[in-house]
C-alpha cells in the first residue's frame, strides 16, 4: 500500500513536470515576455526601456530555456523556465502581471477557503441527492415513475447551467426575495449567500449524475449475487440498499471524485455569478484582465489538486471495496 502510494505520488510529480512544461510553452513561447509587457503597460508610447524595466521587475529578463551567456549548470538554471518551475514547485507563485495587484500566493490561500465553503457542502449534497434520486428510479424500474424520471433527467441535462442560474436568481432573489442575489460575508452569516448557488448547482448537475448513477445501479442489478440475494428471500429494499448500493459505490466514487478538484478550485461560473470571492471568480477576473501569471498559477494549482484527488480516490477504493488491494 505504502509503496503503491509512493509510486503514484512519484508519477504524479512527473505529470506535474509535464504540466509545467506545457504551460510554460503556452505562456512564454507562444506569447513572449515582450508581448506581455506591451499588453500590461498599455498605451501607445511603449519604449523598449519601459518593456525592459517591466521585465526586470518581474524577473522575465532572462532567456527562456537556455542561457548561452552562462557556463556549466547555470546555462540551464539561470533561465526563466528554471526559475518559474522551481518557484511553482515550492508553491511560491510570485506577483501577478497586473500593476496594482499583489502576490498571488496569499490571494490563492485566502480565496481557496471561500471556494471550499461553497463546494464542500455542494459536493456532499450532490452525491447524496443524485444517488438518492437514482436509487428511487431503480426501485421503481419499468414503471411510469422510472420512465418519466429519466425523461426529466434528459431534459434537465439539456439545459445549460447558465439558465439555471439566471432563472434561479430571477425567481428566488427578485420575485420571491428569499435569498440575496449575490455577495459574501465572512463567518456563519455566509449561509444565506451560499444557499441559492448550492441549490441551483445541485439542480444543474442532477440530471447528468442521476442518469449515470442509475445506469451504474442497473448494471449491478443484473449480476449474479443480486439473483442469489433475491433467491434466499431478501426483500427488494434490502437487496438494493445492502447489496447493490455498496457495490455500485465503487464507480460512483470514481465519478464523483473526479469532481473533487473543483471543490477547491470552485465553480467558475457559479462563483462569479453570485459574487463569491473564490478561486473560480479569481480565474475569470484574470482571464478578462489577461493576467497570465494568475492563469498560469491556477493551471498548476488545478493539476496539483487533480493529481492529489486521484491518489485519494485510489485510497477511497480500498475503503469502499475491501477486495481492492493496491500493489
Amino acid at each position: 500500500m505504502i509503496s503503491y502510494l509512493l509510486r503514484r505520488i512519484l508519477y504524479g510529480a512527473l505529470i506535474l513536470l509535464g504540466v509545467n512544461l506545457l504551460t510554460f510553452f503556452l505562456f512564454f513561447t507562444v506569447n513572449t515576455p515582450d508581448d506581455m509587457a506591451r499588453l500590461n503597460i498599455g498605451g501607445k508610447h511603449i519604449t523598449q526601456d519601459l518593456i525592459d524595466k517591466w521585465k526586470v521587475e518581474r524577473g522575465y529578463d532572462k532567456p527562456l530555456y537556455v542561457n548561452d551567456a552562462k557556463q556549466g549548470a547555470e546555462r540551464f538554471t539561470d533561465t526563466i523556465f528554471w526559475e518559474r518551475s522551481v518557484s511553482l514547485f515550492e508553491l511560491r507563485f510570485g506577483r501577478s502581471d497586473a500593476e496594482s495587484a499583489g502576490d498571488i500566493g496569499p490571494e490563492v490561500n485566502r480565496r481557496m477557503w471561500v471556494s471550499v465553503q461553497l463546494a464542500l457542502p455542494l459536493f456532499v449534497l450532490q452525491v447524496i441527492a443524485s444517488t438518492a434520486f437514482a436509487l428511487l428510479l431503480v426501485m421503481f424500474r419499468h414503471t411510469r415513475l422510472d420512465f418519466w424520471g429519466v425523461v426529466t433527467c434528459v431534459l434537465m441535462l439539456s439545459i445549460s447551467s447558465l439558465f439555471y442560474i439566471i432563472v434561479g436568481q430571477f425567481m428566488f432573489s427578485r420575485l420571491l426575495r428569499i435569498a440575496p442575489i449575490s455577495g459574501y460575508v465572512p463567518g456563519w452569516d455566509v449561509a444565506k449567500f451560499l444557499l441559492l448557488p448550492i441549490v441551483l448547482s445541485l439542480l444543474a448537475r442532477l440530471g447528468t449524475e442521476a442518469r449515470l448513477y442509475r445506469a451504474m445501479f442497473l448494471e449491478e442489478i443484473g449480476k449474479d449475487y443480486v439473483r442469489t440475494a433475491r433467491a434466499k428471500g431478501l426483500s427488494e429494499t434490502v437487496v438494493l440498499f445492502r447489496h447493490v448500493l455498496r457495490n455500485a459505490l465503487l464507480p460512483i466514487v470514481t465519478s464523483a471524485g473526479s469532481y473533487l478538484p473543483y471543490v477547491f478550485l470552485g465553480s467558475l461560473v457559479f462563483e462569479s455569478f453570485f459574487g463569491l470571492p473564490g478561486l473560480g471568480a479569481y480565474v475569470i477576473d484574470a482571464i478578462t484582465k489577461q493576467d497570465f501569471a494568475v492563469v498560469r498559477t491556477m493551471v498548476f494549482v488545478g493539476s496539483l489538486l487533480y493529481i492529489a484527488t486521484f491518489v485519494l480516490i485510489d485510497v477511497a477504493y480500498t475503503w469502499v471495496d475491501p477486495r481492492v488491494r493496491l500493489a
Partner: protein
C-alpha cells in the same frame, strides 16, 4: 456578381457534409451498418430529433455560404473594376434580409408595435411618457390599437394553414413512397402508419414534421411584419440572432469533436496495439493533458490565440473573417485539449481486440502492424468513435455558453447562444424585465441540445448493445414490429 468568400469554418462544414454523404453511401452498401442505423431510426425519439437536426443542418448549410456583395460602380472608377462591400454576408443573411433591414432603435417586445423605451412628449400641453411606434414592427397598421390583434390572428392563421398544407404534402409523399416500397395501396399504407405499425415509427416523425411546419409557417408569416421574438438593445431582431447562433453551435459541436478524432484514434490504437514504451509515452501525454482542469487549459490556449490575433490584425480583410478564424481556432483548441477521454477508451478496446484470433492470424501471416491497425483494428473500434462523437456534441454546445461567459468563447461580434445568454444576464435585471432574448436563446438551445441528446442516445443504443439495457421501459410498449 458578388465575390464568394470561403471561410475556414465554411470549408470544414462543407467537407463535413461531403463526408456525411460518403458515409451514407457506405452505410447503404454495408448490410451491417445499415442494420445498425435502422435500429437508430426505429427509436421514435431519435427519429424525431433527427428531423429537427436536419432542419438545423439546413440552416447551418445556408449560413455557410459567404459572399461580399458587389458595390455599385462609382462614377469615375475605371471600367471593369468592381469594389466589394466590406461586410461579408451569408446565404442565410440573404434569405433573412428583411429581418436584417428592419432594425429598430432599441428593445421591443415580441410582436410589439410600440417601443420598449418611453419618450417624454407633450401632448396638448400635458407632459406624458409614451412609447413611440416602432420603425418596422407593425408599421403597416394605420390604427394599431384596433387592428393589431386582428392582424396577428389573420397572419398566424395563414401561417397555420400553410404549415398544415406543407405537412400534408410531406405526409402524402411519404405514404406514396411507402406504398410503393411495400407494394400496397395508398390508403392502406396511410392507415397502417396511422396505427403505428411497421418497423419505423413514421407516425411520430410525421407529428414532429407537422409541428415544425406549423411553427415555421406561423413564424414566416409573422416575421415579415413583426419582430417575432422582439429586438435586443441595439434593435436587432432576436429571431435572426437565434437562427445565426444555430450555426455557431453546430460548428463548435461538430468541428471540436472531429478535431479530437485524429489524435485520439491514432494514439489510442497505437498505445493499445504496441503496448510497452509506446503505451507508456502516450499514456503520459494524455494524463498530463487531462490532469489540467479542462476549462483552465482551454482558457490558457484561447488567451494565446487571442494574443496572436491581436498581434496580426492585418491578416484579415473583414471582421467576419477574423471572428471566423477565432471560431476555427477555438474548435481546434477544444479538440486538442479534449482527446484524452476517447483515446483512453480506444486504447482499452484495442488491447482487447489485439488478443483476438483474427488479429493473431493476421500477425502470423506476416501482415504489417500498420496494415493490421488500419484493416482489422480500426473498423472494429469505429462504432466507439461514432458514439463518443455524437455524445460529445451536445456537451460542447453547452460548453460554448460557459466559455463565452468566462470570456474565452467565440468572438463577441459573432452570434452565439453563449453571447445571447451573457447579454440576458444584464437584461433580466432591467425594469420592466427584458425576457424575450433570454427566452429565445433558451428555447432554441434546449431544443437543439435535447434533439442532439436524444439522437445520441439512439445511436448509442443501436451501436452499443450493452447500453440498451439501461433504457427506461414502460409496460405499455409499442406494438412489436410486424415482420413479413
Amino acid at each position: 456578381m458578388p465575390k464568394f468568400v470561403l471561410l475556414w469554418t465554411d470549408a470544414t462544414v462543407w467537407l463535413l457534409v461531403a463526408f456525411m454523404i460518403a458515409y451514407a453511401v457506405m452505410v447503404a452498401r454495408s448490410p451491417n451498418l445499415k442494420a445498425s442505423w435502422r435500429k437508430v431510426f426505429r427509436d421514435a425519439p431519435a427519429l424525431c430529433s433527427s428531423l429537427i437536426l436536419a432542419g438545423c443542418l439546413l440552416v447551418t448549410a445556408f449560413d455557410s455560404v459567404h459572399y461580399r456583395p458587389a458595390l455599385k460602380a462609382v462614377a469615375g472608377a475605371p471600367a471593369g473594376s468592381v469594389a466589394y462591400d466590406t461586410v461579408t454576408r451569408s446565404g442565410l443573411d440573404y434569405v433573412l434580409s428583411g429581418l436584417l433591414a428592419s432594425r429598430e432603435v432599441t428593445y421591443s417586445r415580441p410582436l410589439a408595435y410600440l417601443s420598449y423605451r418611453r419618450d417624454t412628449v407633450s401632448i396638448n400641453g400635458k407632459v406624458q411618457r409614451v412609447s413611440p411606434r416602432l420603425l418596422h414592427g407593425g408599421a403597416q397598421l394605420s390604427d394599431p390599437e384596433h387592428q393589431w390583434a386582428g392582424d396577428l390572428l389573420s397572419r398566424s392563421l395563414t401561417g397555420l394553414v400553410l404549415g398544415l398544407l406543407l405537412a400534408a404534402a410531406a405526409a402524402a409523399t411519404l405514404f406514396r413512397l411507402l406504398a410503393r416500397a411495400r407494394d400496397a395501396g395508398f390508403v392502406e399504407t396511410a392507415a397502417s402508419v396511422w396505427r403505428n405499425e411497421g418497423e419505423i415509427p413514421w407516425r411520430a416523425a410525421l407529428w414532429t414534421l407537422a409541428v415544425i411546419a406549423v411553427l415555421s409557417g406561423v413564424t414566416l408569416c409573422l416575421m415579415s411584419a413583426y419582430h417575432v421574438f422582439g429586438t435586443d438593445t441595439t434593435g436587432n431582431d432576436v429571431l435572426y440572432q437565434a437562427l445565426k447562433s444555430i450555426r455557431t453551435a453546430f460548428v463548435i459541436g461538430s468541428l471540436a469533436t472531429i478535431a479530437t478524432l485524429p489524435l485520439a484514434v491514432v494514439l489510442g490504437i497505437m498505445a493499445g496495439f504496441f503496448r510497452g514504451w509506446v503505451d507508456e509515452v502516450i499514456q503520459y501525454f494524455y494524463t498530463v493533458l487531462s490532469s489540467v482542469p479542462n476549462i483552465l487549459l482551454i482558457a490558457a490556449c484561447v488567451l494565446m490565440v487571442q494574443v496572436f490575433l491581436d498581434k496580426h490584425p492585418d491578416m484579415f480583410e473583414t471582421g467576419v473573417e477574423r471572428s471566423d478564424v477565432k471560431l476555427f481556432l477555438l474548435c481546434t483548441v477544444l479538440g486538442l485539449t479534449g482527446w484524452a477521454g476517447l483515446c483512453r477508451l480506444l486504447r482499452a478496446e484495442t488491447m482487447k481486440l489485439r488478443e483476438l484470433d483474427y488479429v493473431q492470424a493476421a500477425n502470423a501471416f506476416g501482415v504489417s502492424s500498420t496494415r493490421i491497425m488500419v484493416r482489422h483494428i480500426f473498423p472494429n473500434v469505429a462504432h466507439l468513435m461514432l458514439i463518443v462523437t455524437v455524445l460529445d456534441f451536445s456537451s460542447l454546445i453547452l460548453y460554448e455558453a460557459v466559455l463565452s461567459y468566462v470570456g474565452v468563447g467565440v468572438d463577441p461580434s459573432m452570434n452565439s447562444f453563449g453571447g445571447m445568454i451573457n447579454l440576458a444576464r444584464k437584461e433580466m435585471s432591467l425594469d420592466p424585465v427584458v425576457w424575450w432574448s433570454f427566452a429565445a436563446a433558451f428555447g432554441f438551445m434546449v431544443t437543439v441540445v435535447l434533439a442532439v441528446n436524444l439522437f445520441a442516445d439512439g445511436v448509442r443504443d443501436a451501436f452499443d448493445p450493452r447500453a440498451r439495457a439501461f433504457r427506461p421501459r414502460l409496460a405499455i410498449m409499442r406494438k412489436p414490429a410486424v415482420q413479413k
